[in-house]
């Protein structure tokens, strides 16, 4: 099983990359209320990422803070699951990704909130409340889109099929969370009138730094300014 450093780094990377993707929606959401909601969720993810990466840096003990970890690693050094780095796609893809991720994060943070590592427990205790809101928001939209128009139903189904395989990687570290995760997901899908996609292909690699081609491009954009001015204060 992984060290606390690896855990904090991996979960921090999940949150950071998720935040980066969600923030891409800023000024592009289907309506203003949703623009605000997506920014909120991105801010929550970013907040959790900062706490987790800061802690990871301390555990590592090589003097790397949140910014060194966020801005000065290559994609091969990132430990996030591939799910969070996938392109946003349309709003249905974004909501499918958010549902799969946030249900997992809620369960994970709940479990970590009673961790013997007090620092991790503290971070998780704060993040679980935020995750509960993310789950509510994603569920609401998956149901709306699944139950909305013919087009929204088609898009939601396509989106779910496309991202489902990437959900398996979430449980490489926490296999015990898959059963409760599935039961929450099933409930939402039932209400949305959507079938759960079949399991099959299960892409992997994120936790060991083997990502999709999307991540290095995301990082090129995210890191460009920080890297252009080494060692300065912002």
């Amino acid at each position: 099983r992984m060290t606390t450093f690896e855990k904090a780094l991996g979960l921090g990377d999940d949150a950071l990359i998720a935040a980066q993707r969600l923030a891409e929606w800023c000024s592009r959401a289907p309506d203003m209320e949703e623009d605000i909601a997506l920014a909120n969720i991105a801010l929550d993810q970013l907040g959790a990422a900062r706490l987790l990466l800061t802690y990871a840096g301390e555990l590592e003990g090589r003097g790397r803070g949140e910014d060194e970890l966020a801005f000065l690693r290559d994609d091969r050094e990132f430990r996030n699951v591939q799910l969070v780095e996938l392109a946003n796609g349309d709003f249905a893809v974004t909501m499918a990704k958010l549902l799969l991720l946030s249900v997992y994060q809620r369960l994970l943070y709940e479990s970590l909130a009673s961790s013997s590592d007090e620092r991790l427990a503290g971070i998780a205790g704060k993040a679980r409340k935020e995750s509960a809101y993310h789950v509510d928001h994603a569920s609401l939209w998956v149901v709306r889109l699944g139950d909305g128009t013919e087009e929204s139903r088609r898009r939601m189904r396509t989106a779910l099929d496309a991202v489902w395989p990437y959900s398996h990687e979430l449980f490489e570290w926490y296999p015990e969370l898959r059963a409760p995760w599935l039961s929450v997901i099933d409930e939402v899908l039932t209400e949305a009138g959507l079938a759960r996609p079949a399991d099959g292909w299960a892409p992997t690699g994120g936790r060991s730094g083997v990502h999709t081609e999307a991540l290095s491009r995301l990082l090129a954009d995210m890191q460009v300014l920080h890297r252009a001015h080494p060692g300065v204060t912002w």
Partner: protein, 308 residues
């Protein structure tokens, strides 16, 4: 008439006109135009700064910037809601924006070329907005005045954040300092132009003053802004790019070079560097979101039937 008399009395007494009150049609139209333009400015204003969220140079700055742009969406919402109290729907307003039938602040038609532009927008553009908006907190129309109180509080927070960005840059490396100065050089005159044409050319102004929608003239506000900036620029250690800028002891204010009002007119008419891009971005987001909004409406309708 009685109604007009009552309206005039409320305005004269510095009390608030409320949505249920009778008001002159021209007053209503003026307010709709002004509040809508203000709301559109918040929404379009998300783009130039949003351009740097993904590239913000530290996680802290990323969080602050994302929250700021989110606040702008919130301001847009309050203001559309205020406009709706005057009998027009948000949807109508959004369509007028996309079709170019209503304006937004011309300042957002300039590009954000570097990270320092985020600082300059905060310091100068939000600074100018505050100078413009603080008097609007006492505007005669209640919903608008109340929205402005909330907005001004957040704007001054944003202005301080922009100031901090510039302060950090100007006290950083030579490259950072040059970046900050370059941004101030590019944003100074467009910010001055935010106060509108000089009083001699300003339409609408006199009636708006009488209605207590507007409290100060364009030139009065512009002067107030310049005087405020000069002092802050010293602390920032950045140069205001105006060779004609100097203290005039007689006036008790700074003399300064006016912005290029011909350029302002060109930008207002649609020919700024980013007008097309800003509207296209908004139109595209609106169009691409149509199926989502339709799905939400369809789902709500189904639920309503079930709950009957």
């Amino acid at each position: 008439g009685d109604l007009q008399g009552y309206f005039d009395a409320i305005v004269a007494a510095d009390q608030k006109v409320e949505p249920r009150d009778w008001m002159p049609e021209a007053y209503r139209k003026t307010l709709i135009r002004q509040i809508a333009q203000h709301a559109h400015s918040e929404i379009i204003g998300m783009q130039p700064e949003g351009n740097w969220i993904s590239r913000a140079p530290s996680l802290k700055r990323k969080a602050i910037l994302l929250a700021k742009v989110q606040d702008e969406a919130g301001h847009g919402l309050y203001l559309y809601a205020a406009a709706e109290t005057l009998g027009i729907s948000r949807q109508e307003l959004v369509e007028m924006l996309i079709e170019g039938r209503q304006k937004y602040s011309s300042i957002f038609n300039y590009p954000t070329l570097t990270w320092a532009d985020v600082g300059a927008i905060g310091w100068l553009v939000d600074g100018a907005a505050i100078v413009n908006q603080v008097p609007l907190c006492r505007c005669s129309y209640g919903p608008y005045a109340r929205a402005m109180i909330r907005i001004c509080k957040e704007e001054s927070f944003h202005q301080r954040q922009g100031y901090e960005i510039l302060h950090t840059l100007s006290h950083g490396t030579p490259a950072q300092k040059a970046m900050a100065q370059d941004a101030v050089d590019r944003w100074w005159y467009p910010s001055l132009a935010m106060f509108g044409p000089p009083d001699t050319d300003s339409t609408h102004s006199e009636q708006s003053m009488a209605w207590k929608i507007k409290r100060f003239s364009n030139d009065e506000l512009r002067q107030r802004f310049v005087d405020m900036c000069v002092q802050q620029a010293t602390v920032l250690d950045l140069r205001i790019p105006d060779p004609g800028l100097r203290w005039n002891a007689e006036r008790g204010a700074h003399d300064f070079t006016q912005p290029d009002y011909d350029e302002l007119v060109r930008v207002i008419k649609g020919n700024g560097p980013c007008n097309r891009q800003r509207i296209e971005h908004r139109r595209q987001a609106h169009d691409e979101g149509a199926w989502v909004r339709e799905a939400a409406a369809a789902h709500a309708a189904k639920k309503a039937v079930i709950n009957v």
